[in-house]
Amino acid sequence: MPRRDDISSILIIGSGPIVIGQACEFDYSGTQACRVLREEGYRVILANSNPATIMTDPDFADATYIEPLTWEVVALIIEREQPDAVLPTLGGQTALNIAMELFDRGLIGVPGTPEMIGANAEAIATAEDRQQFKEAMIEIGLDVPRSGISHTMEEARVVVEEIGLPVIIRPAYILGGRGTGIASTAEEFERVASNGLAASPISEILIEESIAGWKEYELEVMRDRSDNCVIICSIENVDPMGVHTGDSITVAPQQTLTDVEYQEMRDAAIRCIRRVGVETGGSNVQFAVDPATGQQVVIEMNPRVSRSSALASKATGFPIAKMAARLAVGYTLDEIPNDITKATPASFEPVIDYVVTKIPRWAFEKLPGSSGILGTQMQSVGEAMSIGRTFTESVQKAMRSLEQGHDGLIDSRSISSLATHTDVELLEMCAIPTPDRLVQVAELLRRGVAVERVHDACRIDHWFLDQILMLCEEHDHLTSMTLDSFDRRAMRRAKRLGYSDRQIAGIVGATENDVRSTRLALGVVPTYKTVDTCAAEFAADTPYHYSTWEDENEVRQSDRTKVIILGSGPNRIGQGIEFDYCCVHASFALREAGFETIMVNCNPETVSTDYDTSDRLYFEPLTREDVLNVIDAERPAKVIVSLGGQTPLKLAGEIDVNLVAGTSAASIDAAEDREIWNRLCDELGIPQPPGGTAVTLEEARKICDEVGFPVLVRPSYVLGGRAMQIIHDHDHLARAMAELSGAGSLGREGGLSAERPVLIDRFLASAVEVDVDAIRDHTGEVLIGGVMEHVEEAGVHSGDSACAIPPQTLPEWVVEVIRSYTSAIAQRLDVRGLINVQFAVVGTMVYVIEANPRASRTVPFVAKATGVPLAKVATRVMMGSTLAELRVEGLLCDPVEGHVAVKEAVLPFNRFPEVDPALGPEMRSTGEVMGIDTGFGRAFSKAELAAGSELPTTGMVFLSLNDTDKPAGIVVARRLRERGLSIAATEGTAAHLARFGIDVDRVLGKVAEQDGTTAIDLIADGTINFVVNTPRGSSGRSDGEQIRKAASLHRVSCVTTVAAALAAAQGLAETSSEPLTVRTLQEFHQR
């Protein structure tokens, strides 16, 4: 069946901001879908609130709505655009839920409204509703764990009585397992079940027999309109059941099922997709297998493209999202050519001849108070994937891809860090799933603890344990060697087991460089193999490669001018999709300009690791060795290190200076080196907050005595305000320095040294922060891309703060000063490409805080706000073009004005109810949204709505302000009153407001004193639907902390700065006068 001609326009719903459980994989899938559907000649309408995505580039859709993703807003888009169809299966759970809300209201999927393509409402309901799904599976003869559904705690207690503990609790209609948990005792059950009911938008939980410890598998299935079904990939979890699949270490293909068992699972997956009724596209079916009997049960099914399908696409080379989009518009699998072989059809099952390992990356160090224990609720913020010919090679590559200081699975550091634990302790530790479990397991095996004992503790399959044991045996073997004793065989053997040069160096007591030279002298070099979907059965031209240590290298040399772009590795807080956006744009810009582009990255979620984004893709860890190997193999003209965040920037010094594109490594260092930087600012006469650098506590004390408290303390060479703190006294300073110098997680990342000192600055309280992104070319022309004024005052990390383009409160001449300072700094640093400069404005005094001659997190936001493709322009400038040339070429245009764009951060606190959601200098947001409209208030309201904290139009606001914020609180309270909201306040705040004639409806006592109703009770029962709580420095935090945690647990919007409260009040004022309207980015960008 060919392309459908009865529809001509299609609305794609995106997935919104990056949150835990829903990351850039949906930018990858959405971007592919947009591309394919436009290629097919459809008018593509896109809705997504996330400005950092590739898909929201105005080039990718005919109409791009960067608008909040709520059903109400999407309904406005539908009303305005009248699409023929809605494709809801490529935007994660967000898109699916919105589609269901629209369907329930008769706005899509019923006659006279846009058709739902990909999956219809009935199929979505069958897969998503736990009870319906279970019944459907039983109906077709598949086993499911025993379970029952509950909507209240009373029902829940009856169900658990029948099933018996332990049980697993899964809320309906949630993503990434939010609110899910295992309960082994009655007390745990009460807690987990009530959390689950709160997390489910329809207050429904499934209580299920726990099968923790069983083996866990996933199959990726595709189906077309003619009911042809194929399995794209099988995935086996190294972590047994009990850990969310997003938090599990996973391997593709499956390793430990016989063909008989595998085919049984394959049949079940196909029956499942047919019964659920996903008409076209991809689905993910999860299974658990009892290792003792082989019994298989179906766990769940996602009737849409998922995180696992992104992984499966990258693992096999089969572009699931692209295919899903084509199938949705009527094609059948046999009508679509296999993208990779070109000669064979897509109606086949990919086979691979390598092993893929995915390891998640967590951010517990940024979330003090969180348990760090993995469970059925996803907590990781990113993942690294690796490809090796064998599991041993693959898992070692994945460990170093994480960029958490591992040189492989077993290295000197992991051994010494666990040295104080006895075997028995380690066995107990590895029984509890944590991010460190694999390293603990490896250490036990290295110490000679039997595979059986380790298996009994951690339940990881024997096969995986034996593979790890092989790595341990090799480690033992290497410890008996010196670098001189290596022959070619010994070196090749270690390399084939995935040992990195650095890891070998640590074991034999040599430097990484010595190992590298020895290895090269022995002629042991990596070979690059191709990912081709067919295990070499057919000729393939795919430019998708991975390194391994075999006989034959498949990469053919070309004689075009090549540029390597180093990507940003696994997502983490502070370094995410924004940098992938920049890398992808660099590749696009350079391809358009005739260069051959080569991408190196290891993040499977991204657009950059799509094999057709660049001319070639190397799926490799971003370490010195792996990157130098690719450089040796490709011999590029230039290497781009400044677009992927801190990851590639750290490698700048390792690469031949002549190869680094754009700003030199020396200039990058000049901006980081405090002494050079101070001198530069002095010479330019640009004021800085007073401060200095310290390596020891004594030095730090001295600086604080000079500049006075409070001070801002931050380590050098980190991103996202890692370990950044505002310090009010000497005790606190001592604690902070101890953490930085070794004990804490940052110590593990390198500690302190003369090269990596701590920066200490006088903290400018209540200053306005300003961010500037600019580009300078080699002629010295500087382009100011955007000046962003932060909503939250200095002290809140810029990544966690809302900001606006253009600046809203700064006088025009202050902005002019900021622009001049930026140009002068760029000039002095001899920047070639992007630079980001941060300023703090106190009154009319402009201080420079720091400058970073690289792409910043805000580059995509600025591009979407102004219509100037900053990343592309910067890339061309790095390769030698001038801004003037790019203007003539048409790539560079003037910014569009006449609207306001607000970026708002999205924070992960609802997943970590034990963590205080107050904002601070350490960045903790996982993603961002943009609101764009005619005025600041309207844009801010949209941004808040998009970020999931809708400003209330009715109900009760709770105000609890510290003394400094009380004056501004008067304004906030008055505005809210004017909008008809009632107000609750703490005694102090209420008394203050009363003095200025503002009535408070309820005065609430201290939480700690527990007399009468507290704010927490009113938050829990839904009376209070908006919280303004500003922390009181380090002393009075506890009461406020409990209130903020309660708000995040009950999903009540909570702002922790008075500036945000003022913005919210302004937003309310502007939106109540005129309802929200939607407009495309293309319209905003019209000149």
Binding site: V230, Q254, T258, A536, E537
Partner: protein, 371 residues
Amino acid sequence: MSSGQIRDGALVLADGSVFEGELIGAEHVVASGEVVFNTALSGYQEIITDPSYAGQLITFTYPHIGNYGVNATDAESRGVFCRGVIVRELARRPSNYRSEQGLGEYLASQGLAGIAGIDTRRLTRLIRSQGAIPGAFGGLSESELLVRAQQESGTDGVDLVSTVTTTDSYTVGSGHRRIVALDFGIKTTILRHLGSLGTVEVVPASTSASDVLAREPDGVFLSNGPGDPGMLDSVSREVAQLVGAVPLFGICLGHQLLGRAIGASTVKLPFGHHGGNHPVKDLTTNRIEITSQNHNFAVDADSFTGLERDVHMTHVNLNDGVCEGLEVRGAQCFSVQHHPEAGPGPHDSIYLFDRFAALMDAQRSSGKAVR
């Protein structure tokens, strides 16, 4: 397995290519044969025990082989008929509740040699571009191995069926339908499926048509098997006498023999189809089946025109257009090139056994010879 036990070895191909590796499985054996590859991700035991691989060295493209061990139920025949296995990595500790033995031990117990540590992707690419090629590995010098490899004639023009067929007839299954299965190297899984349809008498490949018909079967099954169908003209002649006399169902070599029996020709493919992921379209229903494949020869569908009987291609391989199935209209005969029984591989084509049963039942109720 400590490093002390590693036996270095090499695989040498007839074109002189050398692959370094470590010898596994049976010791003191030099293996030689035609090198083919199989892309299946699981099912190594079924593949190694499939008699259709007689005379061949099997390269597994998936690097980890042996992960779930070996068990008695998954064997496709009474032993091994391939000449050796070539892998990247042999699992030393199997893990599966069904496992009874490690693959390495099993190979040794069967006297089958293997070689591990091979860059199997390089080998596969070489076979893909040059075609199936003879090779040899074992504890000899590279030059000795080269000689062995060059002495191998491959599978063209060799009758391998006589080395794998049963010597005596035997019966499996139960039920009212009577099926005679001509054993050219029949797989256990096929017998299991046929056995669920009726009582199956398995007879040697050399059984004559009259002998077959004397057993008054409701249907005759032509099994899979190794090698060149062109070497089995005596068999094709007997099959020709069965066409029209009794419902016939053929799989793999059985399909090729049916083709030759009705006058179609067979050709050798450059490197064959060996794997579990080939898309085949049923031209009657237009549905796509993902199929299990293992053959080097194929029926040439272009040779159907002008045949005495009304022969149609019923299934086609979507990767390369190779004929995957044929039917002889009016004669109750059909056959497929791929393996509907799986073992290993997907079950998408299992319906073909039901089709065979339906043919037999229709024939029985009509109570007369087909033509």
